[in-house]
Each structure stands twice: as C-alpha cells, then as structure tokens.
Amino acid sequence: MGRDIVSLDDLTVNNIGVFKKINSVTLPTSYSEQWYKDSLNTDQIVKLAYYSELPVGAIKAKTINSAHKISTYENMQQQQINAKIVPNAVYVESFAVLEAYRGLGIGERLLKFLEEETKKKFIHEIVFHVHIDNTAAVEWYEKHGFAKSEEVLKDYYKDQGLSNPDAFILSKSI
C-alpha cells in the first residue's frame, strides 16, 4: 500500500532510550552514557530503523583517520577525531537489529544509509570491528561487500567480559 514497512528516522533526545535498548539487548558490548549523549551531536552518523512503526534497528558511525592504530574497544569508543586531521574512513561504532527482525532488509537499509552518508563526506572506506565468535555477522557483512582482514586483532574486547576477546577488522571500499 505505497508505504514501505521499513523506514528510517532520526535519533532525538526523546527516543534515545530506544537506541540504548536496541544496543543493550542485541550487542554483547556496552556503551557509556556519554557515548549516547554524544550521539545526538550533529557531526554523528546515526539513524534508527523502524519496522511497521516499531523501532527495531540502529546504526552509529563516526569519521576517523585509519592511520591511528587503536587496539582496544574502549579506546575506540572514546576516540574523537581532531579537527586538524583529515578523516579517511568511516568507522561503525554500533550496528544492531533486534533478533526477531533480522532477514527483513532492515540492516541493508541502514547500511545503504551509511554508505550514502560516507559518500557525502567524500570518504571511500567503511571499517569496523566484529567479535571473532560472531560468525553470523561476519557472513552477513561479507555478503554485503565487506572484506575481512587477514590478521586478528588480539584482545580487542578484553575489558568487555567476553569469553574470546579477539576481533576481526572488516572494511569496504566505496
């Protein structure tokens, strides 16, 4: 009936609770209050996805310079790019769709949004970390044009209390 059952919407101060909820129930990692607060800043790439008017997915990314090597999850979340440095990549900080709503094209919509935003910034690379045990996610990303790095980043998730703290680095050039 005309309207798409999947739709995207902005994050606002009023629905930030939804963002927190989606991340906390789907992702094994945790984010600080400050991180959520910052996600309302205008320089952030952030979007919520709705299925049948129900919020079910969320993505947040930021620009980075990939020359900086960062070895742990916590540092990665805190890192803010200095205004003087020219960003050359978009780094995905969180990307989640509620389990019951996967396979319905919601992730694709969010990814498409991310790629468009990346292009708008004249950046040609998207990167992120994936927990090494999360094979389903890795498969999904590979299906959508991402490539896994050869090496494994050791102890990336060390302080997040995961049984296996290593991570893959995934990236896609656009």
Partner: protein, 782 residues
Amino acid sequence: MVAKKGNPIFANKEDGNFREALKLYDAKQYKKALKLVETNLKKNSNHAESLALKGCINHNIGNKSEAESYVLKAIQKAPANYLVNHLAGIYYRSVENYVEASKWLKAANDNGSPNKPILRDLSLMQTQIRDYKNLKDSRQQYLEFQPGYRANWTGVAIAHHLNKDYAAAVSTLTKIEGIIKEHLTDADRYEQSECVLYKVDIIAKSGDIAKALATLEEDSSEIKDRLSFLEYKARFLMLLDKKHEASLIYRQLLQRNPDNMQYYNLLELSLGTVGNSVDLRLKLYEKLDSFYPRSDPPKFLPLTFTPSSHARFEEKVRSYLVPQLKRGIPATFVNVKPLYKNHKKLKVIEKVVLDFYAAELPKIDNPTVFVWTNYFLAQHYLYLNELDTANKYIDDALKHSPTLVELYTIKARIVKHQGKFEEAADIMNAGRELDLQDRFINSKATKYYFRANKVDEAIDCISLFTKLEDGVINGCKDLHVMQVNWVLVESAEAYKRLYHEYEAKLKEFKESSPLESEESKELENELVENIETYKGLALKRYNAVLKIFKIYYNDQYDFHSYCMRRGTPRDYIDTLEWEDRIHSTPIYTRVLKGMAEIYFEIYNEQQVKQSSESPSIEEGKTTKKQNNKKNKKKSQINKKKADFIARVESEKDDEDPLGAKLLSDLTNDDQIIDKLFQLYKPLIEEGKDLRLTHEVLYKTYLIEGKYVLALQSVKSLNKVLGGSSDVKLRSIGERVVELSETAQNDKNANAAIVKVVGKGLVSAFPEFGELSKEDFLNVYSK
C-alpha cells in the same frame, strides 16, 4: 453603575461627593474615590451610600477583611436605599456569595432603582443559585426594558423552561421567531437554527411529540444542523410508533456515520429485529457490513447478540479477531473486552486466539504479529487474573520486541496486580524512557509511582510536561493551576497511605520499646511529625480538588449571559444539568470518600483523647518536642524543611504549604462530623444512587444521634446495594443491629424517636422483629 442625574436623592453636599466618588469607582480610580467617601463619612458618619461604597472600594484595593463590615453597616442604616442595595449586591457578587448578591440586587430593583441592567445581573445570580422562580420575573422585566435583542427573548424562554413551563417557553420562542424572521442576516443563521431546534426540543419535552415532529418539518429550512434534525426526526417517529419511517431515517444516519454503534441499535429497534432469530439478525449485519466494510460495528455487534452456543459464533469471532491480530491492531483486546462479561464467550475467544497462536502464527513472516498476539493473550490472562500465564506471554513479547512501549504498560499492570507496586513503577518507567514525549506512558508512570507511595518521583516524572517558572523546582504548582485532578487525588491517596504506614510504625514502636530514653523519644517525635506532615498534605491535596470543583461550578456564571448572546440554548441547558450533578462525578466522590475516612479517624482520636488523656500531658509533650528541636541543629532542620516545602507547595508563598493549619483546625474542631456532613450535603440529591453517599451519611447521623435519618440511610443503602433483587447483605444486617442498639443505649435520645426507629427497622427488615440478633445476622449474611 451610573447614577441618573437630577435624582432627588442627591440633595446635599455628601450626595454630590458620593456621586463623584461613584464615577471614580466606575473608572477604577479607587484611591481618589476612597478619599471622597472618607470626607463624606467624616462629616456624616451615617451616610449609608458612602459606607457601602467604602466597602466596595476596600474590597477592590485589597482590604478584603474589612470590606464586608462597611457594607453590613450601610445595609443596617438604610436597608431600603436602592443605591446601598445595589452596592451590597456588587460587593457580594465580587466575593462570589451569589445568594446574598441576588438578595440585594433584587432589593435594589424592588426599592425603585432606575438602573435596569441590575435586572440582567440579577438574573445571572438567580440562575447561579438555581432560583428559577424569581429568575423568570427578572428575565421578563429585563426583556420588557430591552426587547430589541434576541438574547433577552431566549433568556426568558430558558427561564420558563427551567420552571418547567414549556408552553410559555415555546410561545416566547415562537413570538421572537416571527418578529425577527424578516431581519435575519447570514450571521444570525446559526443562532436561528439552534433556537428552532431548542423550541422543537421543548415541545417534545412537554409531551406533544406529534406537534414536535410537525414543527420540526415545518421549520426544516431554518435548521442548519442536519445531524440533529435527522436524529430528532427519527426519535420522534419512533415515539409515535412510525417505525418504518424511522428506520429509513436511521439508514440515512448510518450513511452519514457508519461507525456510530448507537445507530445500529436504533435501526434494529425500528426494524423490530431485536426479538427475532439470531440468523435473521446475522443476515442484517452481513448486509450492513457489505455496505460499510471499513466500519467496526457491523462486524462487532453480531458477537454481542449471538449466543456462544450458536453454530456460527466461533466463526464470527474468528473472522472478527484474526484479521485484527494479523494487522497488529493494539486495541484488539479492548475491542472484544465487552464480550468478556459472558464467560462462555470469553472461552471461545480464548480458544480462537490460542488456535491462531499455535497453528497460524508460526507461518507468518511479519514478526509484529507475534508481538501483538502475545500482547493480546497477556491482557486476556490478566483479565482472568491468571497472572503467571499473563506474565509468560508478556515476557515472550518483551524479549521479542523490547522497544514496544505498550508491552511495558501491560507488564507493569500485571506486576501491580501481584502487589509489587515499586517494581511495577520501575517497569512503567522503563517503558517511559523509550519515548519521552509520549504523554500517555508518562502519566502512567506517574500514577504507578504514586501507587508505590513515591510522591517525589511521581511529581518529577509528570513535571516533564508542566510549565516550570523560574525558581521553581517542580511542576507541583502548575499541576494545581492546570487543575490536574487525577494527580492531586493520586497524591492525596499516596500521602494517606504514607501516614497510615507511619501510624503503624508508631504503634509498633510504642509497643516494642517502653523505655523512655532520650533517643527513643526523639524517634517517636520523628514518627509523629511524619504522620502530621503527610496527614496535613493529604488533606491539603483533597481540599485542592474541592477548590477546583468550586471553580468549575462558579465558572458557569459567565455562560448565563454568554450562551444567550451566542444563541446556544441547547448546550447551555446541558451545561446547567451537568453542573447540577458535578458533585457526584467520579473524581469528586473519590475525594469525598478519602476525606470521610480521615474525618472519621480524627473524630475517633478526639473521642479517645477526651476519655483518657488530660490536656496538661498533651501540652507537656509539645513543649518537650519544641525543646528537642532546639537542641538539634536547628538550621539544618529548617533547611531540610524548606526544601521539602519547596517541593510540595501548591501555590506561590503558600501560607499553609503542609496543610498543618488545615489539620490542626480539624483536630480541634468539635463539630467535625457536622463539617463532614456539609461536604456530603450535595450528594443527598446529586448522589442518591451512590453507595458512598448513604454509607457516610448513615455514619454521621448515627454519631450525631439522628436516628430517623440514619434509618433512612440504611434503607437507601439497601436499595442501592441490592437493586431490585431481594438479597440480604451482611453489611446491611450489621448496620440494622448497630442502629437499633445505639438508639436504645442512648440515654439522651427521645424515647418516642427510639420507638419510631425500632418500628421503622422492623417494617423495613421484617426478620429483625421475628428473629434473635444472631439469627437475623445469619439471614443477612450475603
């Protein structure tokens, strides 16, 4: 108010001055007017007009306490002076004492005031105090003074109507219609339409339905409100037993609005299908459904009249429910809930939904269907009070879609029903945090905090949606200004639970630690202080609602003139009728119920105190308390108290922010039962069908020794509780025994009265005369 020139009453210098002062008063130059009036009074302290004016001026410049004494003095000196009468009327109107105001305005007119607008003001006053008998005269006299306005004619007609003189009302309306017909402009068309419908309505009220119908048809071209036209017409046709014609109109109405359930019922009445076979009715509704496929009633109504044993009932339920579940309609449960009164139907619905859940749901791709079906089942089992099952369904739904706010409201409700109020509030709040701009969930979270006795959290929560002025820490004051009654009642009830909790603690404390150490004394004082604070606050909030209802009642004042001018007599009459029932509305009675409980508690405390404690001990206690306070770090306490007051203040610079004065006035009032009776007085008429009315009145009559009235109340209560059936209720039986024993044991009671009551009880409850007390109570045991 302009005094006419050349009036002989202004014969001397004082009168001249007074005239001048009046002009200044009308121009709101109160200071100057006061000066003139005072010069007058210095020369002639008996100058009544000046005294009266001085009263009015004092009221306007803020000396409210002094104002009335001047007015009274003036009235005493010159009770028949129309200027004094008029000023007295003005004064009492401004203090909203409409009984006195109308009395003095009427006196002004009767004593020959040439000022005719007094009559208009008088008629407003008379309507306000429902003095319809005299209203008719003042409206009529004012009409004769200014017949050129339709509003004045409408006013007279309404006055006749309110006096139930329908014929006079109709003839007034007809007369002005005839006069005005030639002169109507487009702008008058709405008023004309309303007045014509009003006229028709009155004719119908007088009982002459045929004439009402004829008039309606005759004036059809004048009526702009076609919906009312059709509704009136259909109603009249039904009353005249022209059912076929009525049914045609109802079909027309259905075309206009196929979602109005009432029209379907009325259509059936006019077609006479109600008593007919279910199959025939089902056919009718299937046809209506094909006409209006997007409307709910033709789908839903068959479920109400089809018995659960009927072969097609289950099929009908399925075809109603399943599409709604598939479309994920949140209100699905609410839609079918009216059917739940019939337990067999409930079971069929349960089966249909469980079947759907097991067989169809797994095949559906859209994940939201799963959520909404679980949501439905959770509500279903909550209704049945099978809380564990309800919990299971809602937990599944929450696990599946933790971002759906509606799920949290049901989860919280289930937990609340388990008696875990704090947990329920936390769940509701978790839902609220998902969508901060959702007022519904915000209000729900607020209410649940109140239920958990967390008043501060509740107020902070609702304060997100109130206006916060500078220097104000929460929305408490704005909630009073905005007349948010439900918050005020909920907070009063929370305070009441809190002080009851502290009372229980105090009792326990006194029983467990008989030692009179300094420390235990301090603890005890703290408990006593908490009890007093929360009791005071409970009274304060309850009284705030009473005040708001008083405002509601007084607010109608403006409509007595406004509605005449706007030409909306029908809605005006509805408003008056609503105002006449305002004290029996749910919020108000809830407040009265809570207040009665507190009043009776205080009364009982007074009785205990009177019989046991001597006042000197009481005094000793308070001084000790004060000493203790001094010993503590006083500033710290004051700071804490000031913070607390800032949070609970109901208006800026509240004189009694904690209701402490309210409470002490009540505890020291030896007429507290009469005070309570005054609160309940309006309910004797407005709330005669309410259980609460008779329960409380019975108790007050019993305490005051008015046994005949108490007998009346027991009888009324029996009627309200039992309805027409002849059940014998325990609560009635106990009251019968109590009344009989109290009356007989009362040494001060008039013997004749006691006899009357005894006889009355026996004639109303025959078993009481025949059986022993125990056997009687065994009979009245339901």
